[in-house]
Amino acid sequence: MIYDHLVVRYGELSLKGKNRRHFESQLFETVKRKLRPFQGLNISKHFDRIVIELNGQSYEPIVKSLQDIFGIHSISLAVRSENDLEAIQKAALIALNEAIEGKKTFKVTGKRSLKSFPVNSMQLNQEVGGYLLRNTEGLTVDVHNPDVNVKVEVKDTGTYISSKSFEGAGGLPIGVGGKAMLMLSGGIDSPVAGYLTMKRGVRIEGVHFHSPPFTSERAKQKVVDLTQELTRYSGGKIKLHVVPFTKIQQTIKDKIPSSYSMTIMRRVMLRITERLAENNHAMAIANGENLGQVASQTMHSMYAINEVTNMPILRPVITMDKLEIMNLSHKIGTYEISIRPYEDCCTIFLPSAPKTKPKREKAIRYEKNIENLEELIEEAVNEVETLILEEGKSADETFDDLL
């Protein structure tokens, strides 16, 4: 392997004027933290890119890690050469040969950022392209639709030549967009919603409602594992708030007509989440709601439930088809966890016939049946158990020695 560098290019953030410096340093910190498990790398920040010197490490696992980071547009394998035309030509030939296997056309994209270099961008294309043609067989140049694009960038620190690129995750660097509380049930949708929320640079904290003994320890563990999986994309730790919900669910079952119990339960969950958001300085709530035909997923339901908060509710998967959500879930690694068959608190007291078109006025009226609702909410919020999950570390280290 001749590649000794990775060049990480930013996504949208090159456009964002004044905030740019902030964005870049956020991203740089995330990259550094993410690559901590790899030893011997040199990571440095440049004007519009991050350069990683591999120092003999193989690039595959590093590229894979980088593809989890939002705010990265692309990752290129690069070889660095001296700022000397002959050296550049030779390096370009090696880079082309690495990438060309089985392909037929290429082009050279030269870029001279170092203006003191005597060969300008146009000339670079010709000089390097000509050299490559002379020293290979059966290849032709196609400037519009090449199989391989050999990028040659002359900078003050040397010339970077790359022919192989990988797509980054896109989006904005985590941490530039504030914080939201993510309602995590354990299903397929909510982790995907969390992933997409983070994609816009938003930090998340998880909120899960736990109703022992009606929901099991395994159901809770499932949510812990989902949160753990999401730390891959979070640029560090994620907090998970586990809300004791048994008492409230029992009260709802006692006092609310069963056709409205689901609606009221959701209203209470939203209130508790809002309270947790305030306590943890978050400015929005995110969830996996998706417009559909079942119980809580109708627009009528949303209208009756949403009323209890003024906080913005982010619903990243609201318009997606189930299949789209599942595909994303596979991609981000949460699907296998989400399909574990444990009941969560939403299904445990599920009425046989929940209203698909609940009326807001009725919900308000029924809710008044629970006189001590405020007290119950207060109590639940006070007794929240908060876990901190960190990438690469299992929250429970009891097993590490065994493995």
Partner: protein, 380 residues
Amino acid sequence: MIYLDNSATTKPYKEVLDTFVTVSEKYFANPSSLHSKGGEAEKLLGQARKSIAQLLEVAPSEVVFTSGGTEGNNIAIKGIAFQHQNRGKHLITSSVEHASSHESFQYLESQGFEITYLPVDQDGLISLEDLERSIRPDTILVSLIHVNNETGTIQPIQEIGEILKEHPKIFFHVDNVQGVGKVDLPLREWGIDLCTISAHKIHGLKGNGILFVKNGVSISSLFTGGEQELKKRAGTENVAGIVAMAKALRLILQESKEKKESLFEIKQFLIEELRSIDGIDINTSMKYSAPHIINFSVKGIKPEVLIHSLDKRDVYVSTRSACSSKQGGASRILLEMGLGENRASTAIRLSTSYGNTLKEAEKALKVLKEELLNIKKVMR
């Protein structure tokens, strides 16, 4: 003791035994039980699966726990054959497979499947041209051993994988029981769909193994009666053995990173010395073989006799595959390599692992020379 029979089985690592004892004591519950003890065991099992997946660079959902190499090969070969027989009943393998594969194919033959057994050359290698020629529209599986258990020959799995990438409907199974920790086998890159691994060949415990089944590859289950192991292999999981296997895999991959050179050194030394002994022929290919297996034949001496006389001197070697050693007679593998009846029936196998040293090899060789002399005296 000089133990040179690591291809038959290895001595478990101390850490592996510690893990086994701790898990057996503390996490003995059935992972499928609903109570919290069951939950703990299930969680531990999940962590072990994840850890193994990471080490093999695959997804946790692609790791199926088995009882070992024989079962892995059986499930893979029969599982693919029965599941996909509607698409075709032609299977390709080689003539030098381990008995567990070989006999699975013979069984399938009796069930109406058609099998191509690819021949091998003097080095024990199949030819890529033969393989390409034998592929037919109704071929559903190619199954090959990576590192041969008797001779150490390494089949060109990467090249075969490339050929099979052109035939996306053919499944590719690799028996990697002998290769783990000794010869690299990147499962993803080389286009492998199923891969068999055994724990006790990597200093884990007997009764545990892994079958890698790529996501999306469906196999019929040979065991029914539960939903364990992604419904591919029913039965209560051997949690302690599995966790111990995760440990063994981690340790051997670590050792292979640090010490593979030393295995080559020992092999080089042994082969050069053995070659200079009158009446000894080296059966292991110099060019295409794994760093830990050396097979040679001693003219005119029954291998059992030599094994027993070495045994008395505390040096442990074997005739060939432990799974076939009781049958006596000539080695099927060596016959297939065209080495002739005489060489095939006088073969000795030395197999090393990371515990062995060059010093041990020197000592073993000295003992071997002395015992050869003794035997020859008696026979005269």
